[in-house]
């Protein structure tokens, strides 16, 4: 969006004022339908959620509400339950996104090679991504259910995987890695395919080893794709809801920002407090994405400029 604005704005000073004004008007006219649409579908719900988060709504008297200012936010931030949800969310995000990126990169490299059965491999690898997350969760629950789930049968154990820390969170991370590594693989495969073969050939002629080619050519040229994948996955992971909801109902050390907000808002019908928790999650996601754009996005621009 920023780049579009720059391009449109740059030629303006060289033109005559009246013409630029009418062009601006035309631009406003042409952009306004989509802006109104965005305002309706995006801005309004967020503003409404902020409005909710500054009030408390009575669960016992119909229609009664009161203004509480930032109370819902301070009580959320100071509550141990919310803090541990934040902590679990961060652990989940860091570990799952790291593993997914590494495994996804490996898958992409494997799929990129030309060989017989390439089409089949690509299809098979993508299957977990095609499975609905809730279905994934039910599958993993069945695998790990104790004591007769097949994991316990194979290991010959009676471990209650989903009933104790830290196993429950580990299983949720594994399920997420299983499901979303193919997504990263897909993004990175697209990135790999735009790297021209002649660069590799030139490097080979110069005597570069396979490792050198990977580190010096593949990784740097793949970086923009990796960063896009990282941003997608990080933002997604911060909002994780379905896996803990189905696998453990957000208990035994698996509550997340989304499960606790849902519990508060929908189950307990504390609309004000729940909305505040949702807005806090929203702010955290915003901060992380700003961080990416600031530190990583600059990188992308720098690289494309080179």
């Amino acid at each position: 969006m920023a780049t579009v604005a720059n391009q449109a704005g740059a030629p303006a000073p060289t033109r005559r004022r009246s013409r630029s004004l009418s062009e601006k008007r035309l631009a406003v006219l042409m952009v306004s339908p989509s802006m109104i649409l965005i305002a309706l579908v995006a801005a309004w719900p967020i503003i409404y959620a902020i409005w909710l988060s500054l009030h408390q709504y009575s669960v016992r008297v119909a229609g009664l509400s009161r203004w509480v200012g930032a109370d819902n936010y301070t009580s959320a931030v100071s509550s141990p339950d919310w803090r541990s949800a934040l902590y679990h969310t961060i652990i989940f995000t860091v570990i799952s996104v790291t593993l997914e990126t590494m495994i996804g990169l490996g898958m992409a490299l494997a799929m990129h090679r030309a060989f017989r059965g390439q089409g089949l491999l690509r299809t098979v690898v993508l299957v977990p991504w095609a499975v609905l997350t809730v279905v994934t969760a039910v599958m993993w629950r069945t695998m790990f259910v104790s004591p007769y789930g097949f994991i316990n049968t194979i290991l010959g154990t009676h471990t209650v995987w989903l009933g104790q820390e830290p196993y429950a969170l580990i299983i949720i991370i594994l399920a997420d890695v299983w499901k979303t590594s193919p997504f990263i693989a897909l993004l990175l495969l697209a990135g790999l395919q735009v790297i021209p073969d002649d660069i590799y050939e030139a490097a080979k002629v110069d005597g570069a080893t396979a490792w050198q080619r990977f580190v010096r050519i593949t990784l740097p040229l793949l970086k923009p794709a990796i960063l896009v994948a990282l941003i997608f996955r990080t933002l997604d992971a911060l909002r994780i809801f379905d896996l803990p909801y189905v696998l453990t109902q957000g208990t035994v050390g698996t509550s997340t920002l989304s499960t606790i907000a849902q519990q508060t808002f929908a189950t307990n019908r504390l609309y004000g407090q729940g909305a505040a928790m949702a807005i806090l999650a929203f702010i955290i996601v915003m901060l992380v994405s700003f961080g990416y754009i600031r530190f990583v996005g600059g990188n992308i621009r720098g690289m494309t400029a080179e």
Binding site: I38, V41, A42, A43, P45, I46, A49, Q56, Y57, S58, V59, R60, V61, A62, L64, R66, V145, S146, P147, Y148, H158, V160, W161, L162, G163, Q164, L235, R239, F241, T248, Q249, T251, V252, S258, A261, Q262, Q263, F265, A266, T267, N268, R269, L270, G274, A275, A278, I279, A281, F282, V285, M286, S289
Partner: protein, 434 residues
């Protein structure tokens, strides 16, 4: 993009609550309290019992969760067949199978003051919430005039703030299932002792509504309560409740129940019982049909929940009530439909054809029913000894306080005393909710 993420979070949150019982049966929820504590509803519209005698002609809409048994479609068809000629019709609208979704769908319609659900099949734990929002007609005149027709306990589930807010429709209660040759469950203590010798007892110990039911069955039998008589404060941390929880916890520690029950909901407990390794299963009535097959065919027994040694018996009620929307255009006809649903003919069909627990006692003595439903006497006994979960507008929070802390105790993370103490203070702060 980023905005979109925020919306996704907010809309994710606009989902819902779990009722007691399994999503697979769709009818296994339970609730209520005879004290009906903790709130008052004034200014709700009252419907006279006579309103159903000759209401304006028209069509009402009956909203219910997914009609997995076929009972709703059957009842609507019978209603139309009987009253269609007089100009009275009913439409069936099916909501999703999930209890959460049904509640959300109904709440959305009521918040919009829409009369698009004249009659709603309301889970027994939703009465206080819906009535305190003035979404329902006060049906006290009808219920008091007809009270003697119904089994007493289900009436508790529609009782809140001194008034009746619905008409019982179907009920449910849990059984102890066991196999031929095993001791008939007499006391909970005996069940746990026998379970140790026969592989164990499996029940629903995961932190969700189902565990609240499983725990309260023992706690109520032991003489415990959740709320004080006026409904204003928690009395959960009582010696009786501690005793009940200690029995459950020591059951796991000493091998009367597998440690894994702390992760079980209904489907997992059914699967565990199916492995044949466990002697006893605590589950709702639907489980009879699930297990009375294969090797167990004809060898499965269902018993009403036993006595807690030195105290009494209890069950927790599940099922649904017909409630009438305050925004219905033809509440008289809606009541006529609710009354028809509770009639002996429809109730007999419900238990005979659709394996649902009828809410009128005479059905259980019907020869056809006794012949086709081997557990009918036990079911009537279970319903007669049943108690309701606390009827409170903050019930979801109360239940959450119970199931999270009881689960912690079952998993051995805290002592039974500490768990109930924490749950007690959480319930008190829930009761102080604005």
């Amino acid at each position: 993009m980023r905005r979109g993420l925020g919306i996704a979070i907010v809309s994710t949150i606009a989902l819902t609550v779990t009722a007691c019982g399994s999503s697979s049966s769709g009818s296994s929820s339970s609730s209520s309290s005879s004290s009906g504590g903790g709130g008052s509803v004034s200014g709700a519209k009252t419907l006279a019992a006579s309103a159903m005698n000759s209401p304006p002609k028209g069509t009402i809409t009956y909203c219910t969760g997914k009609d997995t048994t076929g009972d709703a479609a059957y009842t609507v068809a019978q209603f139309n067949a009987k009253y269609g000629a007089q100009g009275y019709h009913a439409n069936l609208v099916q909501f999703p199978a999930s209890a959460d979704q049904q509640r959300t769908q109904f709440i959305q319609r009521q918040q919009a003051k829409s009369g698009s659900c004249d009659v709603f099949s309301s889970d027994v734990i939703w009465t206080a919430e819906f009535s305190s929002q003035k979404w329902l007609y006060d049906l006290t005149p009808y219920v008091t005039a007809n009270a003697s027709k119904f089994i007493a306990a289900p009436l508790d589930t529609i009782h809140y703030s001194g008034k009746y807010w619905g008409v019982p429709q179907t009920s449910d209660a849990a059984f102890i299932y066991y196999k031929t040759g095993e001791a008939v469950p007499s006391t909970w203590q005996q069940v746990y002792a026998d379970a140790k010798k026969t592989g164990g007892i499996v029940y629903q110990g995961a932190p969700y509504e189902g565990l609240t039911c499983d725990f309260l069955e023992l706690a109520f039998a032991a003489g415990g309560q959740v709320l004080s008589a006026d409904g204003k404060k928690s009395v959960l941390n009582s010696p009786q409740n501690v005793k009940a929880l200690e029995l459950m916890v020591s059951g796991i520690k000493q091998g009367s129940a597998p440690q894994a029950v702390t992760t079980y909901m209904e489907p997992e407990s059914d699967q565990a019982f199916d492995t044949g390794k466990y002697g006893y299963l605590r589950n709702w009535t639907y489980a009879y049909a699930v297990h009375n097959t294969g090797a167990l065919k004809g060898k499965l027994h269902a018993a009403a929940l036993p006595t807690f040694a030195g105290a009494g018996k209890a069950s927790i009620l599940g099922g649904h009530n017909s409630v009438i929307s305050a925004y219905s255009a033809d509440p008289g006809l809606a009541l006529k439909f609710a009354d028809f649903f509770a009639s002996p003919a429809m109730q007999k069909a419900a238990i005979l054809k659709f394996s649902l627990a009828a809410i009128i006692p005479s059905v259980y003595h019907d020869p056809d029913v006794l012949k086709a439903v081997p557990y009918a006497p036990q079911l009537l006994q279970a319903l007669s000894q049943a108690k309701a979960r606390p009827v409170s507008p903050v019930y979801p929070q109360i239940s959450q306080a119970i199931y999270t802390n009881v689960n912690d105790a079952l998993a051995g993370r805290v002592s039974p005393q500490a768990a109930l103490q924490k749950a007690d203070s959480q319930i008190n702060s829930a009761l102080a909710t604005f």
